[in-house]
């Protein structure tokens, strides 16, 4: 045992300082998480009695006709949901951040207003867009007609082919503020001397950005990537608000979060199933864990060696 502060009795105060945090965190986060994982190896009987069934629930999830199509569907949709965020949200965020970081008039104002949708509840955002895109109100249609494109209008949220991308874009619209602020913080943290030297050498703003600034903010790019991944594979509120637990039309907007909710609590004709719900949650845990590990062991490592 190390003793840096010499001549001290048993450090009760250390225990007092740590106990509340460790107890609440363990009791309401770690233990429930482990219990959920454990429950995925058991079957729940009619009187809530548990029987150990090994990997049966997982086999069920991958092969049973009631679960497998929904699971693969939700996973596929969730991947699309994530890709839309990576390909639309994060590049827009980078562009806005780069423009904000150039300084100049009104930047503080833009920074605050662009971040505003992010602080509103997903429930409110969901309803707002539901109304704006509603054919009943016709706001979106009228706006398209201003530029002569009204024939492009469709009830995007109601069509199987477009609902998922539309919901993803609404989510992008709301959350673009977070990566924007993270990129912005990284960009204004770059020392002036580095870009100054390039400017003296006659480099354009464009090449200064990609050759000097972007490589320097790669750690932030990684953080934004992993935050997007974890947030997306854990999403639920927006789709539940706009489309309900059934994630219609025809499950076309179903992602892991809504699939978990339906499996655990049941829906119109199907009773809820705690064990299968726990199994879906365990799969979400695995998916997120794989992403986090890939991030920690490839991206962060490479970045570190890059800095050396």
């Amino acid at each position: 045992m190390q003793q840096t502060k010499a001549r001290k009795p048993f450090p009760t105060h250390v225990l007092v300082f740590l106990a509340p945090a460790v107890i609440i965190y363990s009791l309401f986060m770690v233990v429930p998480l482990l219990n959920s994982l454990r429950l995925s190896f058991y079957e729940t009987g009619p009187q809530n009695q548990l029987t150990f069934v090994g990997l049966d629930n997982y086999i069920n999830l991958f092969t049973n006709v009631n679960f497998a199509p929904r699971f693969w569907g939700a996973l596929g949709n969730n991947i699309v949901f994530f890709l839309v965020h990576m390909l639309v949200q994060n590049p827009i965020a980078l562009l806005l951040a780069a423009l904000l970081a150039t300084g100049g008039r009104g930047r503080g104002f833009y920074r605050s207003t662009l971040f505003m949708p992010t602080i509103l509840s997903v429930v409110i955002i969901g309803f707002i867009w539901n109304l704006i895109l509603s054919p009943l109100w016709g706001v979106a249609e009228t706006m398209l007609s201003w530029v002569g494109l009204e024939q492009l209008f469709k009830p995007w949220l109601g069509l199987e082919s477009t609902a998922l991308v539309t919901v993803s874009l609404i989510s992008v619209w709301q959350f673009v503020g977070i990566p924007m602020i993270l990129f912005y913080a990284a960009l204004i943290g770059i020392p002036e001397e580095l870009t100054e030297a390039a400017r003296v050498d006659g480099a354009s703003g464009w090449s200064t950005f990609w050759r000097i600034k972007f490589p320097l903010i790669l750690p932030t790019v990684g953080i934004v990537g992993i935050l997007t991944y974890v947030g997306n594979f854990n999403a639920f509120d927006l789709i539940y608000t706009i489309k309900g637990a059934n994630a219609g039309p025809e499950y076309s907007t179903d992602i892991m979060g809504t699939f978990f909710y339906r499996t655990y609590f049941g829906q119109q004709l199907q009773l809820g199933n705690p064990s299968m719900g726990a199994t879906v949650a365990a799969m979400m845990f695995l998916i997120i864990l794989v992403g986090v590990l890939i991030y920690l062991f490839t991206w962060q490592r490479r970045i570190q060696s890059y800095e050396l």
């Binding site: 190390q2 502060k5 450090p11 105060h13 007092v16 740590l18 945090a21 460790v22 609440i24 965190y25 309401f28 986060m29 770690v30 233990v31 429930p32 998480l33 219990n35 959920s36 429950l39 827009i92 562009l95 806005l96 423009l99 100049g104 009104g106 833009y110 207003t113 662009l114 971040f115 949708p117 509103l120 509840s121 429930v123 409110i124 707002i128 109304l131 704006i132 016709g138 706001v139 009228t142 619209w173 602020i181 912005y184 913080a185 990284a186 204004i188 943290g189 703003g205 974890v230 854990n234 639920f236 509120d237 539940y240 608000t241 655990y264 949650a281 979400m284 845990f285 997120i288 986090v292």
Partner: protein, 292 residues
């Protein structure tokens, strides 16, 4: 002598330079302004139309309310619902309690981790930071079972405990790094004066106030906006929060557009006012935190 020739040239270059600079300064404005319209327009449409009568909402959605179309009928419908006040109180209690307790418990733990070296210090710090990456929602099944056992279902206490557990990992992680920056001399001087460790903790806390403020804002917003845990742990009428209340209310009144627009506006306004007051500090604190 080359000065008389070079003189006008410099002025000319200067003029061109200024034009090019101003063009270059203008392009970001156009993009930022354009995106700002995209970000604000939907919110504006909802708030503006909530003050109009039904025919005007549908007939001329882009027109500002005037003497003829102005109407508060939506707000009357919403405010007649007694639950709205209850929902607000619930949200305020849950958010405030979670916030205060997270900051207190989190800074205590951060102080212990940064100040004392004991066996398993690093391991404990690592254990407490797992929750930064793994979302607490994945333990929902276990949390609900535990709440049933403790009979905390449909209580605000249950929600508060979950939100504290959710916010602690990041709070402790950030506060630990801030606590480390407090000069040791300060604490040693207090120790020589015979102050107890608890007393020293209370001396340190005010020094990290900026960090506490930033974490406070970032803990608050997700708790206030959360739908998942109120829906699952406390869906009863007595315990529903604003977010859940609005969600259920909007579900029932889909066809009453006045009521829908007004309740959306009412749910947004407190958050927007709060944001207008604190947005500068908030963004400054994230940027400051991220640079570290």
């Amino acid at each position: 002598m080359s000065t008389p020739i070079a003189g006008p040239k410099i002025i000319q270059a200067h003029w061109w330079y200024r034009l090019r600079q101003s063009l270059r300064a203008f392009a970001p404005h156009i993009i930022l302004f354009g995106y700002m319209l995209i970000a604000l327009f939907p919110i504006y449409m909802i708030i503006m139309n909530s003050f109009k009568e039904r025919n005007a909402i549908f007939g001329a959605p882009f027109q500002l309310p005037n003497a003829e179309t102005f109407s508060l009928v939506g707000y009357e419908t919403v405010l007649q619902r007694a639950d709205f006040a209850t929902n607000f109180m619930n949200s305020i209690i849950v958010t405030a309690m979670s916030l205060v307790l997270t900051l207190l418990i989190g800074s205590m733990a951060a102080y212990a981790l940064s100040e004392y070296r004991f066996l398993g210090n690093t391991l404990l710090a690592l254990y407490l930071s797992i929750g930064i990456m793994i979302p607490i929602r994945l333990g929902t099944v276990g949390i609900l079972n535990m709440m049933v056992t403790l009979s905390l279902v449909n209580t605000l206490t249950g929600l508060i405990l979950v939100y504290i557990a959710q916010a602690l990992p990041l709070t402790i992680f950030i506060l630990t790094s801030f606590m480390r920056q407090v000069p040791t001399e300060l604490k040693d001087a207090a120790r020589i004066d015979g102050a107890s460790e608890y007393r020293i903790f209370w001396l340190i806390v005010p020094l990290i106030r900026p960090a506490l403020g930033a974490i406070g804002i970032f803990t608050m917003i997700p708790i206030w906006n959360d739908l998942w845990f109120p829906l699952i742990l406390a869906p009863s009428e007595k315990t529903a929060t604003v977010t859940l209340g609005v969600q259920q209310f909007l579900g029932q009144f889909v066809s009453d557009w006045n009521a829908v627009l007004s309740s959306l506006t009412l749910a947004m306004v407190p958050v927007l006012i709060f944001y207008f007051i604190f947005s500068r500090q908030m963004i400054r604190s994230i940027t400051a935190g991220a640079i570290k």
